[in-house]
């Protein structure tokens, strides 16, 4: 019999890092070196994470395929499985299945400007793509990264953000809804950063990821700026059990978010009829 599609492989937590308030980044390695070696993924894909005795949840991969030998998942403790994950320490074992989903278009945006708009933990899947693009820096034009969170304590990936600002022909702009005493950058929703960037919209693809309400308003902003519907790429968050198009939970229109997504252009989302 073929491999059971529902069975996870075991992975060891090799590092736990406090990313932001209520958000941790876990570095994972498959127990079997052969599985680790053959585990290949694209930015934007996700895994089904098992916490033994608690359950399974879909989590996007935040490391990049260029990071060989390990996976990183950045997780906010919001549900049953993610809260249980937050209690796990280095050396403990979890289960992983995947990778699942379509992932972001990469070759299609070569030679173009890329604009990333992230909100809170929504930067996690974008980070996978951003680091992949920086690893192939010469293949892409200007890179603009706009990132916001509700308050400074909720900003993730500060080390990456600092590193990205120093890379040639790239810019990083930060914002928070509610500043603290030390905050010197922009105050406001992430869309309020859009007028501050100078890019040739015709030659730019925008990637948007964050809470649904943020995605909604950023897409409206981008459309107003003149972005074509197929030049706005976003990700859908849906309840999933299987990741394989069987359990039915993530069905939207003729698509299953787990198989045909989670990455969709705005044009595709509109055609699916539910967003």
């Amino acid at each position: 019999m073929n491999k059971n599609i529902y069975t996870p492989d075991l992975a060891i937590i090799t590092k736990v890092c406090d990313e932001a308030a209520g958000i941790k980044t876990f570095t994972l390695e498959f127990q079997e070196p052969e599985i680790q070696k053959s585990f290949d993924y694209r930015p934007g894909q996700f895994v089904e994470l098992t916490i033994l005795g608690v359950g399974e949840a879909p989590i996007s991969i935040t490391s990049s395929p260029v990071n060989k030998g390990y996976l990183e998942l950045s997780v906010a403790a919001v549900g049953k499985v993610t809260q249980a994950l937050h209690l796990k320490k280095e050396g403990e074992v979890v289960g992983l299945r995947g990778p699942y989903g379509n992932g972001f278009p990469l070759n299609e945006v070569k030679g173009k400007n890329t604009l990333f708009v992230g909100g809170g933990i929504g930067l996690a899947p974008l980070r996978s793509l951003i680091n992949q693009i920086f690893a192939q820096r010469g293949d892409f034009a200007k890179i603009s990264i706009l990132y916001g969170a509700r308050n400074p304590a909720l900003l993730c990936f500060m080390n990456d953000l600092e590193r990205w600002t120093k890379i040639e022909n790239s810019e990083v702009l930060l914002t928070v809804d509610v500043p603290d005493a030390k905050w010197k950058d922009n105050v406001g929703v992430v869309g309020s950063l859009l007028p501050k960037i100078d890019i040739d919209i015709e030659n730019t693809v925008a990637f948007v990821c964050g809470p649904p309400i943020m995605i909604h308003f950023v897409i409206l902003d981008l459309l107003r700026m003149g972005f074509g519907e197929n030049k706005i790429i976003t990700t859908m968050e849906r309840r999933m059990e299987c990741g394989l198009g069987k359990c039915g939970h993530c069905n939207i229109g003729k698509s299953y978010v787990c198989l045909d997504g989670p990455v969709f252009s705005f044009q595709q989302l509109r055609e699916l009829g539910e967003s």
């Binding site: 019999m1 073929n2 059971n4 599609i5 529902y6 069975t7 996870p8 075991l10 098992t50 033994l52 005795g53 608690v54 359950g55 399974e56 919001v78 549900g79 049953k80 993610t82 074992v93 289960g95 809470p211 649904p212 968050e237 849906r238 309840r239 059990e241 299987c242 394989l244 198009g245 069987k246 359990c247 039915g248 939970h249 069905n251 229109g253 003729k254 198989l259 009829g273 539910e274």
Partner: protein, 337 residues
């Protein structure tokens, strides 16, 4: 084609034991339900369909997928497959289609090994319908009242005898086990079956226009019928529980000491929790959920599975609904507005 005297049906089915577990429609109080063959309760002359489809035998309401055994040095995963050899007799054409549809869901692309193990060990003995019930509309979907495919053997009730059509080599082998009980059919019986099929088609009280629905459904998303009907819904999930094609399931871990069992069980797209995530619910209104049930069956599934509809026309969802939500009424509204 073969002939089997009605009186010889139970002896034939008994003869398939113990090699096979034999499942058939049985009288249970007011109802007819599939169960382990009890010849004294075997239902052969019933009109319409058993209360529930035989889906449970291929895709159980609750099923153990595997067990994590946590040992001090390692964690082992032990999968549980059910490979019981089973014959199900009395499967109505609507239910044959239901299983044909689930084959598409579970055996296409990624193969579900649990469904596959059960399916590979199950033989389907169909039973054509000579008369429709009030809620039946399979003739409108061309899934019945007489089956054309997806059976190992197909029985047609000719009065005192069954005409038996062979649909597979595995079905033929069953007949070999009961060889002396069967006779060869003649053109006379085949003609009689054809007449019964035509007669049966005239007994339908419920019909829908599938062509019109297919043409209209793409544009019908803002039809007032969703809100009008959804307001009646009491969130029991019954329409999903009795549906022969509903595929959706939840997965859950149950921990007991060093063992964790991962189980799956049916879920219902009509319940609010179906799309509930940690942070929000992506389909919060009942009208959206009712629309999803109909669209999944009549629009999304045909798009995904080469035109095959996710509805058998059995009408069980209408029969079971305590609030009187009627699928044929909704489909007619979709077709005509």
């Amino acid at each position: 084609m073969k002939l089997l005297n009605k009186a010889n049906l139970a002896p034939f089915l008994e003869r398939l034991r113990p090699e096979f577990e034999v499942v058939a429609p049985l009288y249970e109080g007011q109802d007819i339900l599939f169960g382990d063959l009890d010849s004294s309760q075997l239902a052969t002359d019933f009109i319409g369909k058993p209360r529930l489809s035989p889906k449970e035998y291929l895709f159980p309401q609750r099923e153990r997928l595997f067990t994590f055994n946590v040992c001090p040095e390692s964690i082992e995963i032990e999968a549980h497959f059910n490979e019981t050899k089973r014959v199900i007799w009395g499967v109505r054409p609507c239910d044959l289609y239901g299983l044909k549809f689930l084959d598409l869901v579970y055996l296409k692309d990624y193969i579900d090994p649990y469904y596959q193990a059960r399916r590979a060990n199950t033989l389907l003995l169909g039973l054509n319908c000579n008369e429709a019930e009030e809620s039946c509309f399979c003739s409108s979907l061309r899934t019945g009242p007489f089956a054309k495919e997806a059976f190992d053997l197909l029985f047609t009730d000719l009065g005192d005898v069954f005409l038996v059509e062979i649909g597979s080599r595995a079905g033929e082998k069953l007949i070999e086990k009961g060889a002396n009980l069967f006779n060869l059919a003649t053109s006379k019986e085949r003609e009689k079956a054809k007449l019964l099929e035509e007669k049966s088609k005239k007994t339908f009280k419920t019909s829908i226009d599938l062509g019109k629905i297919k043409a209209k459904i793409a544009a019908a998303s803002d039809n007032p019928v969703w809100a009008e009907e959804a307001v009646k819904c009491i969130l029991c999930g019954g329409c999903n529980w009795v549906c022969p094609t509903c595929q959706c399931f939840n997965v859950e871990d149950i921990k007991a000491g060093h063992k964790t069992q991962r189980i799956r069980y049916w879920d219902s797209c009509q319940l609010g929790g179906f799309t509930q995530m940690a942070a929000y619910n992506s389909r919060a209104a009942q009208a959206e959920r009712l629309r999803q049930r109909i669209y999944h069956k009549f629009s999304y599934n045909p798009d995904k599975y080469g035109g095959e509809i996710g509805c058998t026309g059995c009408g069980r969802c209408t029969d079971v609904c305590p609030a009187g939500i009627n699928i044929a009424y909704i489909l007619r509204r979709v077709a005509n507005e």
